[in-house]
Each structure stands twice: as structure tokens, then as C-alpha cells.
């Protein structure tokens, strides 16, 4: 089937090629939905203690219009100007993000946890002229603003759009009890005032349509920064069409599992990240879903009230989140009864976690795959089709995926090669990084840097990152496989695997393990690995750690694993230390 065996795997009703997109730009897409579902609740923000506020589609539409007018008329921005948004999951987020799109401006999503230097880099690199920031972290601004082009600062409160009394209580608690509200010394406008000004201008005749006169599908919608692998954070240029297309592709893929106007999705992942941004925010807004926004899922007990108080039908998450929920007693004793399906991405979903999730909730969980550079979704396991654990599924409609060798030629099915992808969701390039762009997007193919294999049915399996591969006597060992094997062992919480120099084999495998069961020995782990892995993949050395270094993304930082830690670490040389690769 011309190298696309997955075409036969699409579930009933999923078209392999998208028909015409429902809208050219995001504002068009959002307005359609706002009109269709005007009276439905679009967003509910749920605090850990159950305090909450909600916005209807009509409110979101009106308030984001106000914000668009504010940006254009009051701040004086033009189409294409960048607006940085540094806000956690809260009701203000969709208003601000949609307002930026409606103003014809470019959204620069920024992690609220960023340090001053990370903020400075991102704001300066994007050339943002305005910043919307959560008041909790606005004390970092004096150190940041002078080296950026930001002239306007809008502040957002976590309790904005809550019922008045509740908002007052939250505000008082932040100010006088937890004392988390810093004094903001830079000039700023509270979002409330900004919206009021925008509204006033709108009522006196601002022309919202004019803002989008020059904005078409190719226009830049968002600069989504990605750490990438080289260290320097770069802005992936996502156009309106990229995001509209990916939204449509996702909905085409999920088919009848996402019912228009009937879903309640729990958004525990941050919206500033492209995964939740496209999947939760855009896709579920498009179909009239209700987004339950949780400002922070840490600790996971923060999600208890959201699960108790709302009929959650969909959940998106990363392996860490699903695993964490499966360790919470309240979740295990009363798994969400209305849940229909869960989608995992961001990092590999462990087979054991997927299996337990299905057992506990009685609902499917499917893993997908994508990059910031692809808006983000490229592949997904088909709900309503064959779900293969341990794979990232099949390419979503209108997407081509291949595994290629270093020379760029496709490898035969079943052989590992770099995963490359083509489709309407692939970014326009890296903002002001033409060299990196040329290297990453070649002839329309996005080179992901991930090594994958395709099975005969067209399902892809990520083997590892290209750069993390360990070569033992000429055999390729992918740390993910070894980590997964060790992590599946009872009593092991997690494992990280790296290659270390070895006089005999060039490199050998070393594992760093965090255990729940202190009785577990290195010999036990090696014996377990021997049972499941080819000999050359079995770690030579097991080192026990109290915890593993993780990135902001929650991924294990393999490069930091080799750094020895002081107290608490014990190392052991396994009995397999003399064996040769098979």
C-alpha cells in the first residue's frame, strides 16, 4: 500500500484525507464554535479546595473580543506583533489567548515557572511587545523587562472571573495567609481594566474584522518555544492553518469518541504547552466541550475535587500523571465513572501504566506522538480501532510518516530509522533560525530526531532519541527499552539508562534505579533484565538513587544521570558484569 499500511487501520468514519478545513484562521474557527454553543459552559476552573468559576462560550467570545480590541486600540499593536502570555491554567488564559488571535497578533506561550533569565531569552528572542503575566510571578519583571521590547504588561489574577465572594477569599488568602502575592513594581494594567477599556472601545465602534484583514491561513498564529535538544530554546512558528489543521486532524481521528457538545475534559496539563493547547483548548472548544482547568496538578491530590465535582469524560495527560493518579487512593477507590477515554502524549506511556489505567477506569487510553514543531500531533492510536500499547499509533489523517536512514532513504518496515513526517501541521520553521529550520524541515519533511520502527500494520514505535542510543559492541541499545523493562519490575519506581565507556565493548549499559522496595538488590534487577532482554542490553552496573534528575518536562535527564550524588547513593556491580553481548 505505497508504504502507508496504516490507511487500512482507520476506524469507521475516519477519512484518511481531511476535506477542506472548517476555517482558515483560528478566530474564524473559535467564532463558529462560540456561536454554536453560546450558552454552554466552555471553561470551569477548579481549585484544589473545590472553589471554582466558569465561563460560557458566549462570555469567552465577548471577553476575548474585548481583549483583542484592547491590544489593537489601546496598546496600539499591529497584526503580527507578538504577545507573550505567561499564565497557568485559569479562566483568563482562553480569554487572553483567543484575544491575541482575534487581534491578528502572535501568541508566545511562556511557562510561568520560568526564571528571569529564561523569560528574558524568550521575550527578547520573540520580540514580544506586550506581556500578560500571572500576578504571582510579576516580581521577576524588573530584572526582565529592560532587555526586552515589552512595553505593556497586563496582570492576571488566579481567581479572575470567579464569583465575587470566592474571588475575594482567594485573594485575601494569597495576600495575607500564604503571602504569595508580590508587590508589582513595574507599570501594569490588571486584566479586568484592560477588558473594560477594550469593551468601551468596542462599543464605540472598533472594527474587529479589520484586525484580520491581512491574516490568512499562512499567517503566524503562535511562536511555541521548544527546548529542542541543542539547549537553545527556539520558537516554532505555527501558522493559523497549522493549528486549525491539527485540531481538525485530531477530531477526525477521535471520531465519535468526542461527541459535540457533550464532553467534559479535565485539563491538568498546562495550556502553555502545545499538547494541552491544541488537544484540550482548541479541539474541545471546537466541539463545544467543557474544559475543567486545574491550575496545578502537583500534588496529584489537587485533582480530587475536580474529579468529584465534575463529570469528567476525557482526560489528557502524560505517563507521569496517569501513574501518579494510579497511586492515589481516592482515585483508585472511586475512579471517574463518566470517563470515556484518555489520551497520553508528551513522553512514552509505559505499557504497565496503560494496562492498569484500563483496569482501574474501565476505559481506553491511547498514546499519541508529536512535537511542538508539528502543532503537535502526528500519530495516535485509533480509538475504535486496534490499539497497540507501546506504539505511538498510526499517522493521523493527512499525515505521512516514514522511518528513514541517515541518507534520507526510507528503511524497510520493522527496521529502525529516524522518524520524519509531512502534513499540514508541520511548522513554518524556527523563528529567526534559518539554519536550524533547514536542517529540521527538509523538502517539507519534519525530521524529528527520534528513532522509530513501523510494524506491518503501519503502527510506529519510538525506539529512542537518536542521540541517546548506546552502542554495545556494534549493537544498538535503546535506553527506553531497558528503562521500560526495569520499571516494569515490581518494587521499582523508575529507572534511567545511559551508555558508559567500556574498554571491551566500546560502550556498556548502566542503569540508575529508584526503588519502592528497599529489599530489591542489583542482582535481582539484573536477573529480571536477563529474562526479558538480549544479553547485550542487560545493564552491567546498577546504581540506586533516591530520585532521578528530571527536566521541567518531567522527562528523565539522561545526561545528568552520570553526575554522582553524595549521600544515599549506593552502587553495585551486577553478576552479569563479565558477559559478552549476544
Amino acid at each position: 500500500m505505497d508504504g502507508r499500511p496504516w490507511l487500512a487501520q482507520y476506524p469507521e468514519g475516519t477519512r484518511p484525507q481531511l476535506p477542506e478545513l472548517p476555517a482558515e484562521t483560528l478566530p474564524e474557527l473559535l467564532r463558529q464554535s462560540s456561536a454554536t454553543y453560546a450558552d454552554a459552559i466552555a471553561f470551569t476552573q477548579c481549585m484544589p479546595n473545590g472553589m471554582n468559576g466558569s465561563l460560557r462560550y458566549r462570555d469567552v467570545d465577548r471577553l476575548s473580543d474585548d481583549f483583542a480590541v484592547y491590544l489593537r486600540e489601546v496598546v496600539g499593536l499591529s497584526a503580527g506583533d507578538r504577545v507573550a502570555v505567561q499564565v497557568p491554567n485559569c479562566l483568563s488564559y482562553p480569554i487572553v489567548a483567543f484575544g491575541v488571535f482575534k487581534a491578528g497578533c502572535v501568541l508566545v506561550n511562556t511557562n510561568p515557572m520560568y526564571t528571569a533569565s529564561e523569560m528574558t531569552h524568550q521575550f527578547a528572542d520573540s520580540g514580544a511587545k506586550a506581556l500578560v503575566i500571572i500576578d504571582l510571578f510579576a516580581d521577576r519583571l524588573p530584572a526582565v523587562l529592560p532587555t526586552t521590547s515589552i512595553e505593556t504588561v497586563v496582570t492576571v489574577s488566579i481567581s479572575a472571573f470567579f464569583p465575587r465572594t470566592v474571588a475575594a477569599i482567594i485573594h485575601a488568602t494569597q495576600r495575607y495567609w500564604s503571602r504569595t502575592l508580590p508587590r508589582i513594581t513595574v507599570e501594569h494594567t490588571p486584566l479586568r481594566d484592560a477588558l473594560a477599556e477594550g469593551r468601551q472601545r468596542r462599543e464605540t465602534g472598533a472594527d474587529l474584522e479589520a484586525y484580520l484583514a491581512d491574516v490568512d491561513g499562512e499567517a503566524l498564529a503562535a511562536l511555541q518555544y521548544t527546548g529542542g535538544t541543542t539547549g537553545v530554546s527556539k520558537g516554532a512558528m505555527l501558522s493559523h492553518r497549522n493549528l486549525v489543521a491539527n485540531t481538525s486532524q485530531i477530531l477526525e481521528m477521535t471520531g465519535s469518541h468526542v461527541r459535540p457538545g457533550e464532553e467534559t475534559v479535565l485539563t491538568a496539563l498546562p495550556l502553555y504547552h502545545v499538547f494541552a493547547f491544541t488537544l484540550n483548548l482548541l479541539a474541545f472548544y471546537t466541539v463545544g466541550g467543557r474544559n475543567v482547568l486545574v491550575p496545578s496538578p502537583r500534588p496529584p491530590s489537587n485533582l480530587k475535587r475536580a474529579f468529584e465535582n465534575y463529570p469528567i469524560t476525557w482526560l489528557t495527560g502524560v505517563n507521569t500523571l496517569f501513574n501518579a493518579l494510579l497511586s492515589e487512593r481516592w482515585f483508585l477507590e472511586h475512579p471517574p465513572g463518566r470517563l470515556r477515554a484518555s489520551a497520553a502524549g508528551g513522553m512514552a506511556l509505559h505499557g504497565s501504566v496503560a494496562q492498569r489505567w484500563r483496569e482501574v477506569t474501565g476505559t481506553p487510553i491511547v498514546e499519541g506522538y508529536g512535537l511542538t514543531e508539528s502543532s503537535p500531533v502526528l500519530t495516535f492510536n485509533p480509538l475504535g480501532g486496534t490499539v497497540k500499547d507501546g506504539t505511538i499509533g498510526i499517522p493521523i489523517p493527512s499525515t505521512e510518516v516514514r522511518c528513514v536512514a541517515d541518507d534520507g532513504r526510507p528503511v524497510p518496515p520493522g527496521e529502525p530509522g529516524e522518524l520524519v513526517a509531512r502534513g499540514p501541521q508541520i511548522m513554518q520553521g524556527y523563528w529567526q533560525w534559518p539554519d536550524e529550520t533547514a536542517e529540521t524541515v527538509r523538502d517539507g519533511w519534519l525530521h524529528t530526531g527520534d528513532i522509530a520502527e513501523m510494524d506491518p500494520d503501519g503502527y510506529f514505535r519510538i525506539v529512542d532519541r537518536k542521540k541517546d542510543m548506546v552502542v554495545v559492541s556494534g549493537f544498538n541499545v535503546f535506553p527506553n527499552e531497558v528503562e521500560g523493562c526495569i520499571a516494569a519490575m515490581p518494587g521499582v519506581r523508575e529507572a534511567g539508562v545511559v551508555g558508559v565507556a567500556d574498554p571491551k565493548t566500546g560502550e556498556s549499559v548502566q542503569a540508575y534505579v529508584v526503588v519502592d522496595d528497599p529489599a530489591l538488590t542489583a542482582a535481582d534487577i539484573i536477573a529480571h533484565a536477563r529474562e526479558h532482554l538480549a544479553a547485550y542490553k542487560v545493564p552491567r552496573v546498577i546504581e540506586f538513587r533516591d530520585e532521578l534528575p528530571k527536566s521541567l518536562v518531567g522527562k528523565i535527564l539522561r545526561k545528568d544521570l552520570r553526575v554522582p550524588v553524595g549521600a544515599g547513593a549506593a552502587s553495585a556491580v551486577g553478576p552479569g558484569a563479565g558477559s559478552e553481548p549476544a
Binding site: M51, V318, K550, L552
Partner: protein
């Protein structure tokens, strides 16, 4: 055996003056009202699921029953043997009886408040208090019969004031139920009530100490150290032993903390009411009240320290996950 001077000893043996009240009627009303308001707020944080979970694993309830009516009276008996019997016999008997009674009464509502602050299992706590309060009608006299017969004055018969049992249950269950219903219909109002419940809970603890001390300071000044020790250890050991037992049978730490607090924190007002009802004419009334009154003060202090400790433990047990994405 040495006691600190003759005058205090005489005072202590006589106990407080006959018109002495451990708490005034006004304070009593305030306390009941406070408990009502607090439980209303704490109830607003509960769902039927929480109770289902607690019932689905009845081990907490079972072990709570055992520690409540098995361990606590026995602990009180040991304290009597080890400490109270060192005192002059005429003084020792009523104090011993007060101690045994304190060990044999059920858990009080205060335990629910401390369970809340300790991040324990509030639903389990409410069920345990209800359970032990009902069982008290049978078990409290039984325990006293078992350990205390020889200290009982001739011809007196233990009387459990039903009204106190009813008040305890009503001030516990009614507000919790109403709170749950409100929260069901408005999570926002529920959350605000819960916050207020916590606030009043803190006030309640301070109020208990602040009203107790000025009224009873004479007691503090003249009480022999053995009685102090009994009043403190009964609560402290009760909480610790019950917690250790619950942990040893692999109860979840949250539930073990709940069992500990439920067991160690007794219904002080009920014990006092039983004394007043049963021995109102006795010349030994003051001495009988000594341990229940002192216990009521020190349990608040002990439980506060335990709560601080439990909260820390709870915090360190929270799952730490990296920031996601």
C-alpha cells in the same frame, strides 16, 4: 513518695471547692455551638464517596473499636497502677476512678477537628466517633466494671447521661450531613464553609485552652505530679499506641493517624457529665473530676503537637511528581 508540701496536698485531696465548675454553662453552650459550626464546615468538605470508602475498608472501624474500648481502659488501668496508687489512699481511689472513666469513654468531637487539621480521614473519623459513642452505652460501664469496681464508692451505680450521647451525635452528624448536601449543590459555598470550619476549629482550640486555664489554675497549682502525668500520658500514649497498632496491621498512614487521634482523644465533657450525674452527692466529687478536667486541657495541647507532627508526615507522603510538560 514525696509530695510537694502539705498545704497543696490537703487542697488536692479535698479537690476543688463544691461550687467549682469545670466549664460554665455559658462556655458549654458556646462550645456546643462552635462544634456545630465547625462540623458543618468540615462536612462541606466530604462526599458520600468518602464514607463509602471508609465503610468499604472497615478495618479502620474495627481496629478503632478495639483500641477505643480495649486499649484505652487498659492503658488507664496501667496508669492507675503505676502512678495514681502512689498517692494517699483516700485521694487515690477517686482519682483512679476518674482516670478509668476517662479511659473508658468514647471519642469526642474534638477528635474530628484534630483529624481534619492532621489531614486524616475525616469520614472515617466521623464514623468512628459515631460508632464508639453508640457502643459507649454498653462498653463504658463494662470497662469500668472490669477495672474499677474496687474504687467505686459503696452503693453508687454508674449512670451514662443519654442526653450527652444524643448531643454528641447530633452536633456531629446533623451539621456534617447538611454540609455535605450544601457542597453537593454548590462546591463554592462548600469550600467557603470548609475554610470557615477550619478557622473556627482553630478558634475552638484556643478557646478551650483560654477558658480552661483561668477557671482551673488552682488545680494546676496543687495537683500532684502523678495526676499531671496521668492526664498527659493517657492522651499521648493512647494516640501513639493506637497509631502504632494501626500501622502495624498496614493501615494506610492517613487512616492510622485517624485511628490514633480518635482513640487518644476522649469525650472529656461526657466523662465530666457522667461523674456529675453519678456522684453528684459524693464528698469526693472534686477528686473524681480531677483527671477528667486536667485531661480536657492537656489533650488539646498534646493533640496540637501531634497534629503538627502528623501534618509534616502527611506533607512528606504527598506524591512528588515533576512538573508535567
Amino acid at each position: 513518695m514525696t509530695l510537694s508540701g502539705l498545704v497543696p496536698l490537703t487542697l488536692a485531696v479535698q479537690g476543688p471547692p463544691p461550687d467549682h465548675e469545670v466549664v460554665t454553662d455559658f462556655e458549654q453552650v458556646v462550645l456546643v455551638a462552635l462544634v456545630f459550626v465547625i462540623m458543618f464546615g468540615l462536612g462541606a468538605g466530604l462526599t458520600p464517596r468518602d464514607f463509602l470508602s471508609a465503610l468499604r475498608r472497615p478495618w479502620g472501624l474495627v481496629i478503632g473499636f478495639v483500641t477505643q474500648f480495649g486499649i484505652m481502659p487498659f492503658l488507664a488501668f496501667l496508669l492507675v497502677l503505676g502512678l495514681v496508687l502512689q498517692l494517699p489512699p483516700e485521694f487515690a481511689a477517686p482519682v483512679a476512678l476518674g482516670t478509668l472513666l476517662m479511659g473508658s469513654v468514647p471519642a469526642g468531637t474534638t477528635s474530628n477537628i484534630f483529624t481534619f487539621f492532621s489531614k486524616g480521614n475525616l469520614a472515617l473519623s466521623v464514623l468512628m466517633t459515631t460508632n464508639s459513642t453508640l457502643w459507649a452505652l454498653l462498653m463504658t460501664p463494662l470497662a469500668l466494671y472490669l477495672y474499677g469496681t474496687r474504687f467505686m464508692p459503696e452503693g453508687s451505680e454508674l449512670q451514662i447521661p443519654l442526653i450527652n450521647i444524643v448531643v454528641t451525635l447530633v452536633t456531629l452528624l446533623v451539621p456534617v450531613a447538611v454540609g455535605m448536601v450544601i457542597r453537593r449543590y454548590s462546591p463554592n459555598v462548600g469550600a467557603v464553609l470548609e475554610l470557615m470550619g477550619g478557622f473556627f476549629g482553630l478558634f475552638f482550640i484556643v478557646f478551650l485552652m483560654a477558658t480552661w486555664v483561668p477557671r482551673n489554675w488552682v488545680l494546676l497549682a496543687v495537683t500532684p505530679w502523678q495526676v499531671y502525668a496521668v492526664a498527659i500520658f493517657l492522651g499521648l500514649f493512647g494516640i501513639s499506641i493506637a497509631y502504632a497498632i494501626a500501622r502495624s496491621i498496614k493501615l494506610h498512614p492517613v487512616n492510622a493517624r485517624t485511628v490514633g487521634l480518635e482513640t487518644g482523644i476522649q469525650n472529656g465533657p461526657l466523662a465530666i457529665a457522667i461523674v456529675l450525674l453519678t456522684f453528684s452527692d459524693s464528698p469526693l466529687l472534686g477528686s473524681l473530676l480531677l483527671v477528667p478536667a486536667l485531661y480536657s486541657l492537656f489533650i488539646v495541647i498534646v493533640a496540637t503537637f501531634v497534629t503538627v507532627h502528623f501534618r509534616r508526615a502527611n506533607l512528606s507522603e504527598e506524591q512528588r511528581i515533576p512538573s508535567l510538560l
